[in-house]
């Protein structure tokens, strides 16, 4: 983890409320799939954690959905410099993928899978991708995954595009391992449905984002973990689902 200043080089909408911001900074090359950055925004006290969609050379790509003050502020930025904490989170371990890994993403859980897919393809894997969205107008990055050479299936809850239903209704027959990211209900459904082991990326409200405040702790089979530091990626076998309160 370290602080680094990045320059905004692009910031445009992919859908009505999902934006892609491209930043330039030399720390980009140090980032791994499944990690996130924590962004300082003028006028807001806490930084905003955004998962890394892609990092190549000094080019960092973030995809975020406008859900509150912070992301709304970000969506209005046309340029300038941002202070980021980079190298946060454990990230996905692509060593475990086996020959034909399956990547399952839902909504804003899709972006972190892109850089992972890129790496897996580079190491010659046969990568399957299932992307879930609520409706056609919210679909993004299908082509980008195809361009990497992945076999992509898209599911929409209302059937307006691709397969009708949830990601769990669109799983292929065979895969060697699962990498997934998305809203908790989706993660729970994936957990119940998949026939292999896998890695799950979780979201939680964070204070610091680097393990100091214990704001985002969760219980696991292997003890208490900080989503921001010991996660956000957990092995399927260590997950302990909390009963909804």
């Amino acid at each position: 983890m370290k602080e680094a200043v990045f320059e905004i080089t692009e910031n445009r909408p992919l859908t009505e409320n999902v934006f892609r911001m491209v930043l330039s900074g030399k720390e980009a090359e140090t980032l791994r799939p499944g990690q996130f950055v924590n962004i300082r925004l003028d006028g807001l006290y806490l930084r905003r954690p955004i998962s890394v969609c892609d990092a190549e050379g000094d080019r960092l790509t973030l995809i975020y959905k406008v859900v509150g003050k912070g992301t709304d502020l970000m969506s209005k930025m046309t340029g300038g410099r941002l202070s980021l904490l980079v190298g946060l989170g454990n990230g996905y371990d692509h060593e475990k993928s086996g020959g034909s890994p399956l990547l399952i993403g839902g909504g804003v859980g899709v972006p972190p899978l892109y850089m992972l897919a890129k790496e897996l393809k580079r190491s010659g894997k046969d990568v399957g991708v299932v992307l879930g969205f609520s409706t056609k107008s919210e679909v993004f990055y299908e082509d980008e995954f195809r361009a990497l050479g992945c076999s992509v299936t898209v599911a929409t809850a209302d059937g307006s595009y691709g397969k009708k239903g949830f990601v769990t209704d669109a799983l292929p027959e065979k895969y060697s391992y699962v990498y997934t990211c998305g809203p908790e209900p989706m993660l729970r459904a994936v957990y119940a449905k998949i026939t292999t082991s896998g890695q799950f990326s979780f979201e939680e409200r964070m204070g610091c984002g680097f393990g100091a405040c214990m704001g985002c702790s969760c219980k696991t089979v292997t003890g208490y973990k900080r989503i921001c530091r010991d996660g956000p990626v957990l092995e399927k076998e260590e997950i302990l689902w909390q009963t909804q309160g």
């Binding site: 983890m1 370290k2 602080e3 300082r40 807001l44 006290y45 806490l46 930084r47 904490l85 939680e204 409200r205 964070m206 204070g207 610091c208 680097f210 393990g211 100091a212 405040c213 214990m214 704001g215 985002c216 702790s217 969760c218 219980k219 208490y224 530091r229 909390q242 309160g245």
Partner: protein, 303 residues
């Protein structure tokens, strides 16, 4: 050359900057970023007798110039802290640390404090009778002078290290609380812990924090903290450790003018992990700007 040294209950600090408990963990994450030995000391994550997971999440919410937290004293318990964390801390920090102690009964406090006070690394016990996020414990001791003096006296008898009692601002008369602790044998007072606050999720129409309420910290609380430090320093003779929204070297000087002998930095560590190092580095320049040679000269200067 600006003299930033201060003496806190008989132990000299190279400077008055002390990261506040709960915002610095055990120092490891920060030690990756800079040599934390530049700090005067640090108050590590609050310890209880038994291991605690703390409150369910969400535990964090944002507010204007501040944040709410309801972590609820997550920690591995005193025995693991002594067997695992203190040795690990000793590898990254070579000065005396401040051991923040919480509990749910006078016995808890006495047991945990005395166990930690036996550790050579521990310079001070910071008795946290002010955690707003734990039900039936913590803060209740800090809102009633009688219970505060009771637990202070009991711990005082049990430990040989300087005893600093950390007070909650959620009281009507902070001076009364501080005096109760002083007469019960406290060697110092630290304040303020967080102000009890709340946020509501407009979509869900439910409190944002699973715990409903949480503790407010950050620059938003600085003027309240400064006022309470001032009132406390006016009331007691023992040293006061000021905290609450401190984010700059100027804030440190302001706290010391209000009567603080040392200053804890809390929430700012979470948004700027270099905050304490930055403040330590900026302090001499700020002292020169305001004509201060020895930092000890200005303690209580505005009283």
């Amino acid at each position: 050359m600006a003299d930033t040294r201060v003496n806190l209950c008989g132990i000299e600090l190279s400077n008055p900057i002390i990261p506040a408990s709960g915002t610095f963990g055990y120092g490891y994450e920060f030690a990756e970023l800079y040599d934390i030995n530049v700090l005067g000391s640090f108050s590590f994550k609050g310890t209880t007798r038994e291991p605690r997971f703390g409150n369910p999440t969400p535990r964090i919410a944002e507010t204007p110039s501040g944040m709410l937290n309801a972590v609820g004293l997550q920690n591995p318990g005193v025995e693991k802290v002594i067997s695992e964390e203190l040795p690990r801390m000793s590898r990254v920090f070579h000065k005396k640390v401040m051991a923040n102690v919480s509990g749910f009964s006078v016995d808890d406090y006495v047991y945990t404090a005395s166990r930690l006070s036996e550790c050579e690394q521990v310079g001070w016990i910071e008795l946290n009778i002010s955690c707003p996020n734990v039900h039936g414990g913590g803060m209740s001791f800090g809102t009633d002078p009688k219970s505060a003096s009771e637990v202070t006296a009991a711990v005082r008898r049990a430990v040989r290290k300087p005893l600093i009692v950390k007070l909650t601002p959620n009281v009507g008369d902070i001076a009364e609380m501080a005096l109760a602790c002083e007469s019960a044998g406290a060697d110092g007072i630290s304040l303020i812990n967080t102000l009890l606050g709340m946020r509501i999720d407009l979509r869900k129409r439910r409190p944002l924090l699973k715990n409903t309420t949480g503790g407010l910290s950050g620059p938003a609380v600085f003027p309240v903290a400064l006022r309470m430090v001032y009132q406390t320093a006016k009331a007691v003779k023992i040293p006061v450790v000021g905290m609450g929204g401190v984010a700059s070297a100027e804030d440190v000087i302001e706290m010391m003018l209000a009567g603080a002998t040392a200053v804890e930095v809390g929430a700012e560590n979470l948004v700027n992990p270099y905050a304490c190092r930055d403040i330590v580095e900026a302090l001499p320049g700020a002292m020169e700007k305001y004509g201060i040679n020895k930092l000890t000269d200005i303690i209580g200067g505005a009283l």
